[in-house]
Protein backbone atom coordinates (compact mmCIF):
# COMPACT_ATOMS: atom_id res chain seq x y z
CA UNK A 1 0.00 0.00 0.00
CA UNK A 2 1.23 3.47 -0.78
CA UNK A 3 2.08 5.74 2.11
CA UNK A 4 -0.65 8.11 0.97
CA UNK A 5 -3.25 5.40 1.18
CA UNK A 6 -2.00 4.18 4.56
CA UNK A 7 -2.15 7.71 5.92
CA UNK A 8 -5.71 8.20 4.71
CA UNK A 9 -6.78 4.90 6.25
CA UNK A 10 -5.09 5.75 9.53
CA UNK A 11 -6.76 9.15 9.62
CA UNK A 12 -10.10 7.52 8.93
CA UNK A 13 -9.53 5.07 11.76
CA UNK A 14 -8.51 7.76 14.23
CA UNK A 15 -11.40 10.08 13.48
CA UNK A 16 -13.75 7.12 13.80
CA UNK A 17 -13.10 7.22 17.52
CA UNK A 18 -14.56 10.74 17.66
CA UNK A 19 -17.46 9.69 15.46
CA UNK A 20 -18.22 6.74 17.76
CA UNK A 21 -17.97 8.91 20.83
CA UNK A 22 -20.48 11.34 19.28
CA UNK A 23 -22.67 8.31 18.45
CA UNK A 24 -22.66 7.11 22.07
CA UNK A 25 -23.88 10.51 23.25
CA UNK A 26 -26.53 10.71 20.53
CA UNK A 27 -27.84 7.35 21.75
CA UNK A 28 -28.73 8.85 25.12
CA UNK A 29 -30.42 11.72 23.34
CA UNK A 30 -27.87 14.50 23.58
CA UNK A 31 -25.79 16.33 21.00
CA UNK A 32 -22.20 17.12 21.90
CA UNK A 33 -20.11 19.71 20.09
CA UNK A 34 -17.25 19.02 22.43
CA UNK A 35 -15.88 15.55 21.74
CA UNK A 36 -12.74 17.07 20.21
CA UNK A 37 -11.75 18.14 23.72
CA UNK A 38 -11.67 14.55 24.99
CA UNK A 39 -9.72 13.57 21.88
CA UNK A 40 -7.30 16.38 22.78
CA UNK A 41 -7.07 15.37 26.44
CA UNK A 42 -6.25 11.83 25.37
CA UNK A 43 -3.65 13.09 22.90
CA UNK A 44 -1.86 15.22 25.50
CA UNK A 45 -1.99 12.45 28.12
CA UNK A 46 -0.45 9.84 25.82
CA UNK A 47 2.12 12.35 24.57
CA UNK A 48 3.10 13.24 28.13
CA UNK A 49 3.23 9.69 29.44
CA UNK A 50 5.24 8.25 26.56
CA UNK A 51 7.75 11.10 26.25
CA UNK A 52 8.17 12.51 29.76
CA UNK A 53 7.67 9.31 31.72
CA UNK A 54 8.64 6.81 29.06
CA UNK A 55 5.64 4.62 29.77
CA UNK A 56 4.47 1.81 27.55
CA UNK A 57 1.76 2.81 25.06
CA UNK A 58 -0.72 0.33 26.49
CA UNK A 59 -0.50 2.09 29.83
CA UNK A 60 -0.45 5.52 28.19
CA UNK A 61 -3.57 4.76 26.13
CA UNK A 62 -5.26 3.32 29.21
CA UNK A 63 -4.65 6.59 31.03
CA UNK A 64 -5.81 8.57 27.99
CA UNK A 65 -9.06 6.66 28.20
CA UNK A 66 -9.40 7.05 31.97
CA UNK A 67 -8.51 10.72 32.24
CA UNK A 68 -10.74 11.73 29.31
CA UNK A 69 -13.53 9.63 30.76
CA UNK A 70 -13.07 11.34 34.13
CA UNK A 71 -13.37 14.78 32.55
CA UNK A 72 -16.47 13.61 30.69
CA UNK A 73 -17.88 12.26 33.95
CA UNK A 74 -17.47 15.64 35.61
CA UNK A 75 -18.99 17.40 32.59
CA UNK A 76 -21.96 15.03 32.51
CA UNK A 77 -22.70 15.48 36.20
CA UNK A 78 -22.34 19.27 36.02
CA UNK A 79 -24.68 19.43 33.02
CA UNK A 80 -27.20 16.94 34.35
CA UNK A 81 -30.01 19.49 34.28
CA UNK A 82 -29.19 20.62 30.75
CA UNK A 83 -30.44 18.97 27.63
CA UNK A 84 -30.80 19.59 23.91
CA UNK A 85 -29.50 22.94 22.78
CA UNK A 86 -28.24 23.82 26.26
CA UNK A 87 -26.18 20.67 26.59
CA UNK A 88 -24.73 21.24 23.12
CA UNK A 89 -23.61 24.74 24.09
CA UNK A 90 -22.22 23.53 27.42
CA UNK A 91 -20.18 20.81 25.70
CA UNK A 92 -18.81 23.32 23.19
CA UNK A 93 -17.93 25.76 25.99
CA UNK A 94 -16.09 23.04 27.82
CA UNK A 95 -14.15 22.10 24.68
CA UNK A 96 -13.15 25.68 23.97
CA UNK A 97 -12.16 26.15 27.61
CA UNK A 98 -9.92 23.14 27.28
CA UNK A 99 -8.42 24.23 23.96
CA UNK A 100 -7.71 27.76 25.15
CA UNK A 101 -6.18 26.45 28.37
CA UNK A 102 -3.73 24.44 26.27
CA UNK A 103 -2.25 27.70 25.00
CA UNK A 104 -1.29 28.52 28.57
CA UNK A 105 0.09 25.17 29.64
CA UNK A 106 3.85 25.16 29.31
CA UNK A 107 6.01 22.49 30.80
CA UNK A 108 8.92 21.42 28.67
CA UNK A 109 11.91 19.19 29.27
CA UNK A 110 15.01 18.83 27.12
CA UNK A 111 15.69 15.23 26.20
CA UNK A 112 17.89 13.38 23.74
CA UNK A 113 15.11 13.50 21.21
CA UNK A 114 14.61 17.25 21.61
CA UNK A 115 12.25 19.45 23.58
CA UNK A 116 9.20 17.56 24.82
CA UNK A 117 6.17 18.52 26.88
CA UNK A 118 3.22 20.83 26.31
CA UNK A 119 4.54 24.17 25.15
CA UNK A 120 1.51 26.45 24.84
CA UNK A 121 0.75 27.53 21.27
CA UNK A 122 3.90 25.77 20.04
CA UNK A 123 2.21 22.51 20.83
CA UNK A 124 3.75 19.27 21.99
CA UNK A 125 6.64 18.22 19.79
CA UNK A 126 8.83 15.19 19.40
CA UNK A 127 6.40 12.45 20.30
CA UNK A 128 8.87 9.95 18.95
CA UNK A 129 7.34 6.69 20.07
CA UNK A 130 6.86 5.35 16.53
CA UNK A 131 10.45 6.19 15.56
CA UNK A 132 11.98 4.86 18.76
CA UNK A 133 10.10 1.60 18.38
CA UNK A 134 10.53 1.34 14.62
CA UNK A 135 6.81 1.21 14.03
CA UNK A 136 6.19 1.57 10.32
CA UNK A 137 3.06 3.40 9.08
CA UNK A 138 1.67 0.00 8.03
CA UNK A 139 2.20 -1.42 11.48
CA UNK A 140 0.66 1.60 13.10
CA UNK A 141 -2.37 1.21 10.86
CA UNK A 142 -2.70 -2.36 12.12
CA UNK A 143 -2.58 -1.16 15.73
CA UNK A 144 -5.18 1.54 15.09
CA UNK A 145 -7.52 -0.65 13.05
CA UNK A 146 -7.40 -3.50 15.56
CA UNK A 147 -8.21 -1.13 18.41
CA UNK A 148 -11.14 0.26 16.46
CA UNK A 149 -12.29 -3.20 15.48
CA UNK A 150 -12.18 -4.36 19.09
CA UNK A 151 -14.30 -1.37 20.10
CA UNK A 152 -16.82 -1.95 17.30
CA UNK A 153 -17.16 -5.64 18.11
CA UNK A 154 -17.67 -4.81 21.77
CA UNK A 155 -20.36 -2.28 20.86
CA UNK A 156 -22.09 -4.72 18.51
CA UNK A 157 -22.25 -7.29 21.31
CA UNK A 158 -23.51 -4.67 23.74
CA UNK A 159 -26.16 -3.49 21.31
CA UNK A 160 -28.54 -6.28 22.33
CA UNK A 161 -27.90 -5.84 26.04
CA UNK A 162 -30.42 -4.39 28.42
CA UNK A 163 -27.93 -1.62 29.12
CA UNK A 164 -27.98 -0.37 25.54
CA UNK A 165 -31.69 -0.87 25.06
CA UNK A 166 -32.43 1.11 28.19
CA UNK A 167 -29.96 3.79 27.12
CA UNK A 168 -31.72 4.09 23.78
CA UNK A 169 -35.06 4.39 25.53
CA UNK A 170 -33.66 7.14 27.77
CA UNK A 171 -32.44 8.91 24.64
CA UNK A 172 -35.76 8.57 22.88
CA UNK A 173 -38.25 9.18 25.67
CA UNK A 174 -37.15 9.84 29.24
CA UNK A 175 -40.75 9.93 30.43
CA UNK A 176 -41.50 6.38 29.30
CA UNK A 177 -38.11 5.26 30.62
CA UNK A 178 -38.93 6.62 34.05
CA UNK A 179 -42.42 5.14 33.94
CA UNK A 180 -40.97 1.65 33.75
CA UNK A 181 -38.39 2.30 36.43
CA UNK A 182 -35.31 3.22 34.39
CA UNK A 183 -33.13 5.91 35.93
CA UNK A 184 -32.10 8.33 33.15
CA UNK A 185 -29.26 9.85 35.22
CA UNK A 186 -27.34 6.59 35.29
CA UNK A 187 -27.44 6.04 31.51
CA UNK A 188 -26.75 9.64 30.60
CA UNK A 189 -23.74 9.94 32.88
CA UNK A 190 -22.52 6.48 31.92
CA UNK A 191 -22.68 7.01 28.18
CA UNK A 192 -21.22 10.52 28.21
CA UNK A 193 -18.36 9.18 30.34
CA UNK A 194 -17.78 6.21 28.04
CA UNK A 195 -17.89 8.54 25.02
CA UNK A 196 -15.22 10.73 26.62
CA UNK A 197 -13.02 7.69 27.19
CA UNK A 198 -13.42 6.45 23.61
CA UNK A 199 -12.51 9.88 22.19
CA UNK A 200 -9.53 10.06 24.57
CA UNK A 201 -8.25 6.69 23.47
CA UNK A 202 -8.44 7.77 19.82
CA UNK A 203 -6.67 11.00 20.72
CA UNK A 204 -3.85 9.02 22.30
CA UNK A 205 -3.36 7.07 19.08
CA UNK A 206 -3.52 10.31 17.12
CA UNK A 207 -0.68 11.84 19.17
CA UNK A 208 1.50 8.80 18.55
CA UNK A 209 0.78 8.77 14.83
CA UNK A 210 1.13 12.48 14.25
CA UNK A 211 4.27 12.80 16.48
CA UNK A 212 3.29 16.41 17.04
CA UNK A 213 0.12 17.96 18.48
CA UNK A 214 -0.97 21.54 19.05
CA UNK A 215 -4.07 23.19 20.53
CA UNK A 216 -5.48 24.33 17.18
CA UNK A 217 -5.88 20.69 16.10
CA UNK A 218 -8.67 20.24 18.65
CA UNK A 219 -10.98 22.97 17.43
CA UNK A 220 -14.72 22.76 16.96
CA UNK A 221 -14.54 21.56 13.33
CA UNK A 222 -13.06 18.28 14.49
CA UNK A 223 -16.02 17.71 16.82
CA UNK A 224 -18.51 18.85 14.19
CA UNK A 225 -17.12 16.34 11.72
CA UNK A 226 -17.33 13.54 14.27
CA UNK A 227 -20.93 14.49 14.97
CA UNK A 228 -21.80 14.77 11.28
CA UNK A 229 -20.35 11.31 10.61
CA UNK A 230 -22.52 9.66 13.21
CA UNK A 231 -25.61 11.61 12.14
CA UNK A 232 -25.32 10.72 8.44
CA UNK A 233 -24.23 7.18 9.26
CA UNK A 234 -27.28 6.74 11.48
CA UNK A 235 -27.88 5.70 15.05
CA UNK A 236 -29.15 2.22 14.36
CA UNK A 237 -25.90 0.31 14.61
CA UNK A 238 -22.29 0.97 15.66
CA UNK A 239 -21.17 0.72 12.03
CA UNK A 240 -23.13 3.88 11.24
CA UNK A 241 -20.44 6.36 12.27
CA UNK A 242 -17.88 4.44 10.19
CA UNK A 243 -20.03 4.86 7.09
CA UNK A 244 -20.04 8.60 7.72
CA UNK A 245 -16.25 8.59 8.03
CA UNK A 246 -15.91 6.54 4.88
CA UNK A 247 -18.11 8.88 2.84
CA UNK A 248 -16.25 12.00 3.87
CA UNK A 249 -12.62 10.97 4.10
CA UNK A 250 -12.73 7.76 2.12
CA UNK A 251 -14.64 9.03 -0.89
CA UNK A 252 -14.08 12.75 -0.94
CA UNK A 253 -10.60 13.18 0.45
CA UNK A 254 -9.00 10.25 -1.26
CA UNK A 255 -10.33 11.08 -4.71
CA UNK A 256 -7.62 13.59 -5.41
CA UNK A 257 -9.35 15.88 -7.82
CA UNK A 258 -12.20 16.20 -5.33
CA UNK A 259 -10.16 16.85 -2.25
CA UNK A 260 -9.88 20.61 -2.79
CA UNK A 261 -13.62 20.80 -2.86
CA UNK A 262 -14.09 18.35 -0.04
CA UNK A 263 -15.60 20.74 2.49
CA UNK A 264 -18.07 22.13 -0.03
CA UNK A 265 -19.02 18.70 -1.27
CA UNK A 266 -19.28 17.29 2.22
CA UNK A 267 -21.68 20.04 3.32
CA UNK A 268 -23.91 19.40 0.33
CA UNK A 269 -23.67 15.66 0.75
CA UNK A 270 -24.70 15.81 4.42
CA UNK A 271 -27.76 17.83 3.44
CA UNK A 272 -28.61 15.47 0.59
CA UNK A 273 -28.19 12.33 2.70
CA UNK A 274 -30.34 13.74 5.49
CA UNK A 275 -33.08 14.62 3.01
CA UNK A 276 -33.09 11.06 1.67
CA UNK A 277 -32.36 9.36 5.02
CA UNK A 278 -33.64 11.72 7.73
CA UNK A 279 -32.37 9.42 10.46
CA UNK A 280 -29.06 8.59 8.84
CA UNK A 281 -28.19 5.72 6.55
CA UNK A 282 -28.37 2.95 9.18
CA UNK A 283 -31.38 4.25 11.08
CA UNK A 284 -32.86 2.49 14.11
CA UNK A 285 -35.94 1.72 12.02
CA UNK A 286 -33.84 0.07 9.33
CA UNK A 287 -32.24 -2.16 11.96
CA UNK A 288 -35.68 -3.08 13.33
CA UNK A 289 -36.82 -3.97 9.81
CA UNK A 290 -33.81 -6.19 9.25
CA UNK A 291 -34.35 -7.92 12.59
CA UNK A 292 -37.99 -8.49 11.70
CA UNK A 293 -37.05 -10.01 8.34
CA UNK A 294 -34.56 -12.32 10.05
CA UNK A 295 -37.17 -13.46 12.59
CA UNK A 296 -39.69 -14.17 9.85
CA UNK A 297 -37.13 -16.17 7.92
CA UNK A 298 -36.26 -18.33 10.89
CA UNK A 299 -39.94 -18.87 11.67
CA UNK A 300 -40.83 -19.75 8.09
Amino acid sequence: MSLYFVTILTNMTLISFIAISAYLILIVGEVSFGQQAFFGIGAYITATLTTLLGLDIVIALFFSFMVSASFALVLSVLTIRLSGFYFAVASLSFAELFRLSLYKIEYTVETNSGTVGPNGPEGFQNIRWIFENNVSPDNFLVIAVSSLLALIILLIFMENSKLFKNARLVGKDQIVAQSIGIRPFFYRVGFITLAGGVAGFGGGLFALFNTYIEPSMFGIMLGVHGLAYSIIGGLGYPLGPLIGVFIDIGLLESVRFLSEYRMILFGGLVAAILIIFPEGIISPRLISRIKRKLVKKTNA
Binding site: S179, I180, G181, R183, S288
Partner: protein, 211 residues
Amino acid sequence: MLELKGLKKLFKGISVLNGVDISIQQGTKIGLSGGNGTGKSTLLNIATGFLTPEEGAIILNGDNITHFEAWKFARLGVKRTFQKVRFNEALILKEQLHTSDAIIKRNLDMLKDAGLIDYLYAFPNEVPLPILRKVEVIRALLERPRYLFLDEPSAGMAATDLHDFGEFLKEHLDADISLVVVEHRLELMKKIDANIIELRDGKLDNGNIIA
Protein backbone atom coordinates in the same frame (compact mmCIF):
# COMPACT_ATOMS: atom_id res chain seq x y z
CA MET B 1 -51.41 1.83 51.20
CA LEU B 2 -50.67 4.91 49.08
CA GLU B 3 -51.67 8.13 50.80
CA LEU B 4 -51.84 11.52 49.15
CA LYS B 5 -52.02 14.18 51.85
CA GLY B 6 -52.92 17.82 51.42
CA LEU B 7 -51.56 18.06 47.89
CA LYS B 8 -51.34 21.57 46.51
CA LYS B 9 -50.03 22.50 43.09
CA LEU B 10 -49.76 25.85 41.36
CA PHE B 11 -49.16 26.47 37.67
CA LYS B 12 -48.01 30.01 36.90
CA GLY B 13 -49.61 31.24 40.10
CA ILE B 14 -52.92 29.53 39.42
CA SER B 15 -53.93 26.92 41.93
CA VAL B 16 -54.69 23.62 40.22
CA LEU B 17 -54.81 21.35 43.23
CA ASN B 18 -55.94 22.89 46.44
CA GLY B 19 -55.52 20.34 49.15
CA VAL B 20 -56.25 16.87 47.82
CA ASP B 21 -56.44 14.03 50.32
CA ILE B 22 -56.96 10.43 49.42
CA SER B 23 -55.82 7.10 50.76
CA ILE B 24 -55.67 4.30 48.26
CA GLN B 25 -55.93 0.89 49.86
CA GLN B 26 -54.51 -2.20 48.27
CA GLY B 27 -56.89 -3.56 45.67
CA THR B 28 -59.28 -0.63 45.34
CA LYS B 29 -60.42 0.64 41.96
CA ILE B 30 -61.00 4.36 41.69
CA GLY B 31 -62.37 6.36 38.80
CA LEU B 32 -61.28 9.97 38.84
CA SER B 33 -63.65 12.22 36.96
CA GLY B 34 -63.97 15.97 36.53
CA GLY B 35 -64.17 18.53 33.75
CA ASN B 36 -61.34 19.66 31.58
CA GLY B 37 -58.63 21.52 33.44
CA THR B 38 -59.72 20.42 36.89
CA GLY B 39 -56.34 18.93 37.62
CA LYS B 40 -56.96 15.22 37.07
CA SER B 41 -53.81 14.72 35.05
CA THR B 42 -51.85 16.91 37.45
CA LEU B 43 -52.97 14.75 40.33
CA LEU B 44 -51.96 11.64 38.42
CA ASN B 45 -48.57 13.14 37.55
CA ILE B 46 -47.95 13.96 41.20
CA ALA B 47 -49.11 10.57 42.44
CA THR B 48 -46.66 8.84 40.08
CA GLY B 49 -43.71 11.14 40.73
CA PHE B 50 -43.70 13.04 37.45
CA LEU B 51 -44.51 16.31 39.20
CA THR B 52 -43.68 17.48 42.69
CA PRO B 53 -46.41 19.19 44.72
CA GLU B 54 -45.84 22.60 46.29
CA GLU B 55 -47.35 21.33 49.49
CA GLY B 56 -48.45 17.99 50.84
CA ALA B 57 -46.98 14.55 50.95
CA ILE B 58 -47.14 11.17 49.24
CA ILE B 59 -46.81 8.32 51.70
CA LEU B 60 -46.28 4.76 50.47
CA ASN B 61 -46.70 2.15 53.19
CA GLY B 62 -45.62 4.70 55.77
CA ASP B 63 -42.61 6.07 53.87
CA ASN B 64 -42.60 9.61 52.59
CA ILE B 65 -41.76 9.39 48.87
CA THR B 66 -42.90 12.89 47.85
CA HIS B 67 -39.51 13.99 46.53
CA PHE B 68 -38.50 10.74 44.89
CA GLU B 69 -37.96 10.80 41.14
CA ALA B 70 -40.52 9.16 38.87
CA TRP B 71 -38.36 6.11 38.07
CA LYS B 72 -38.24 5.31 41.77
CA PHE B 73 -42.02 5.44 42.05
CA ALA B 74 -42.14 2.88 39.24
CA ARG B 75 -39.63 0.63 40.97
CA LEU B 76 -41.65 0.84 44.16
CA GLY B 77 -44.63 -0.46 42.22
CA VAL B 78 -46.43 2.79 41.38
CA LYS B 79 -46.88 2.76 37.61
CA ARG B 80 -48.81 4.65 34.99
CA THR B 81 -49.85 5.00 31.37
CA PHE B 82 -50.13 8.17 29.32
CA GLN B 83 -53.00 10.14 27.87
CA LYS B 84 -51.32 10.12 24.48
CA VAL B 85 -49.75 6.75 23.69
CA ARG B 86 -45.97 6.99 23.81
CA PHE B 87 -44.13 4.60 21.56
CA ASN B 88 -40.86 4.72 19.67
CA GLU B 89 -41.81 4.68 15.99
CA ALA B 90 -38.53 2.94 15.13
CA LEU B 91 -39.03 -0.15 17.28
CA ILE B 92 -41.27 -3.17 16.90
CA LEU B 93 -43.81 -3.61 19.69
CA LYS B 94 -42.08 -6.59 21.21
CA GLU B 95 -39.08 -4.41 21.97
CA GLN B 96 -41.28 -1.64 23.30
CA LEU B 97 -42.39 -3.87 26.15
CA HIS B 98 -38.81 -3.54 27.41
CA THR B 99 -38.80 -6.96 28.94
CA SER B 100 -37.33 -10.40 28.51
CA ASP B 101 -38.65 -13.30 26.44
CA ALA B 102 -39.23 -15.22 29.66
CA ILE B 103 -41.57 -12.57 31.01
CA ILE B 104 -43.34 -12.36 27.66
CA LYS B 105 -43.91 -16.11 27.79
CA ARG B 106 -45.24 -15.90 31.33
CA ASN B 107 -47.76 -13.30 30.22
CA LEU B 108 -48.77 -14.92 26.96
CA ASP B 109 -52.47 -15.03 27.90
CA MET B 110 -52.56 -11.32 28.48
CA LEU B 111 -50.78 -10.66 25.19
CA LYS B 112 -53.22 -12.90 23.36
CA ASP B 113 -56.24 -11.21 24.90
CA ALA B 114 -54.87 -7.84 23.92
CA GLY B 115 -54.56 -9.01 20.32
CA LEU B 116 -50.89 -8.21 20.57
CA ILE B 117 -49.61 -11.59 19.44
CA ASP B 118 -50.25 -10.74 15.78
CA TYR B 119 -48.53 -7.40 16.17
CA LEU B 120 -45.43 -8.30 18.18
CA TYR B 121 -43.23 -7.59 15.17
CA ALA B 122 -45.16 -4.57 13.93
CA PHE B 123 -44.18 -0.94 14.19
CA PRO B 124 -46.56 1.29 16.17
CA ASN B 125 -47.87 2.98 13.02
CA GLU B 126 -49.02 -0.42 11.74
CA VAL B 127 -51.11 -1.17 14.82
CA PRO B 128 -54.69 -0.02 15.65
CA LEU B 129 -54.96 2.43 18.52
CA PRO B 130 -57.06 0.21 20.85
CA ILE B 131 -54.31 -2.38 20.76
CA LEU B 132 -51.64 0.23 21.41
CA ARG B 133 -53.64 1.35 24.43
CA LYS B 134 -53.61 -2.20 25.75
CA VAL B 135 -49.89 -2.52 25.05
CA GLU B 136 -49.33 0.51 27.26
CA VAL B 137 -51.27 -1.18 30.04
CA ILE B 138 -49.35 -4.41 29.51
CA ARG B 139 -46.04 -2.55 29.61
CA ALA B 140 -47.03 -1.18 32.99
CA LEU B 141 -48.42 -4.50 34.26
CA LEU B 142 -45.52 -6.80 33.33
CA GLU B 143 -43.55 -6.13 36.47
CA ARG B 144 -46.64 -6.59 38.66
CA PRO B 145 -47.11 -3.09 40.07
CA ARG B 146 -49.08 -2.52 43.28
CA TYR B 147 -50.66 0.70 42.04
CA LEU B 148 -51.60 1.49 38.48
CA PHE B 149 -52.66 4.91 37.22
CA LEU B 150 -54.29 5.10 33.80
CA ASP B 151 -54.50 8.53 32.20
CA GLU B 152 -57.57 8.66 29.94
CA PRO B 153 -57.03 5.20 28.52
CA SER B 154 -60.10 5.44 26.30
CA ALA B 155 -59.11 8.66 24.52
CA GLY B 156 -59.68 8.21 20.81
CA MET B 157 -61.50 4.88 21.17
CA ALA B 158 -64.79 3.93 19.58
CA ALA B 159 -67.60 2.67 21.83
CA THR B 160 -67.14 -0.95 20.79
CA ASP B 161 -63.43 -0.80 21.52
CA LEU B 162 -64.21 0.74 24.88
CA HIS B 163 -66.27 -2.26 25.89
CA ASP B 164 -63.50 -4.58 24.81
CA PHE B 165 -60.90 -2.51 26.67
CA GLY B 166 -62.98 -2.66 29.85
CA GLU B 167 -63.22 -6.44 29.56
CA PHE B 168 -59.48 -6.62 29.11
CA LEU B 169 -58.81 -4.57 32.24
CA LYS B 170 -61.28 -6.57 34.27
CA GLU B 171 -59.73 -9.83 33.18
CA HIS B 172 -56.09 -8.93 33.72
CA LEU B 173 -55.97 -6.66 36.73
CA ASP B 174 -55.14 -8.80 39.73
CA ALA B 175 -57.47 -8.34 42.68
CA ASP B 176 -54.72 -6.83 44.79
CA ILE B 177 -53.69 -4.15 42.28
CA SER B 178 -54.98 -0.70 43.15
CA LEU B 179 -56.20 1.13 40.09
CA VAL B 180 -56.84 4.81 39.54
CA VAL B 181 -58.38 5.70 36.19
CA VAL B 182 -58.64 9.25 34.98
CA GLU B 183 -61.54 9.07 32.57
CA HIS B 184 -64.35 11.03 30.99
CA ARG B 185 -66.39 8.03 30.00
CA LEU B 186 -68.40 6.63 32.89
CA GLU B 187 -69.07 3.45 30.93
CA LEU B 188 -65.51 2.26 31.37
CA MET B 189 -65.47 3.09 35.08
CA LYS B 190 -68.66 1.11 35.60
CA LYS B 191 -67.29 -1.79 33.67
CA ILE B 192 -64.42 -2.20 36.12
CA ASP B 193 -66.60 -1.40 39.16
CA ALA B 194 -64.65 1.70 40.06
CA ASN B 195 -65.60 4.05 42.88
CA ILE B 196 -66.09 7.33 41.12
CA ILE B 197 -64.61 10.42 42.72
CA GLU B 198 -64.90 13.86 41.21
CA LEU B 199 -62.20 16.48 41.27
CA ARG B 200 -63.70 19.96 41.47
CA ASP B 201 -62.02 23.29 42.21
CA GLY B 202 -58.81 21.52 43.03
CA LYS B 203 -60.38 19.27 45.65
CA LEU B 204 -61.96 15.86 45.71
CA ASP B 205 -65.72 16.10 46.07
CA ASN B 206 -66.07 13.79 49.00
CA GLY B 207 -63.37 15.28 51.15
CA ASN B 208 -61.12 12.95 53.07
CA ILE B 209 -62.16 9.71 51.58
CA ILE B 210 -60.71 6.34 52.26
CA ALA B 211 -61.27 4.48 49.04
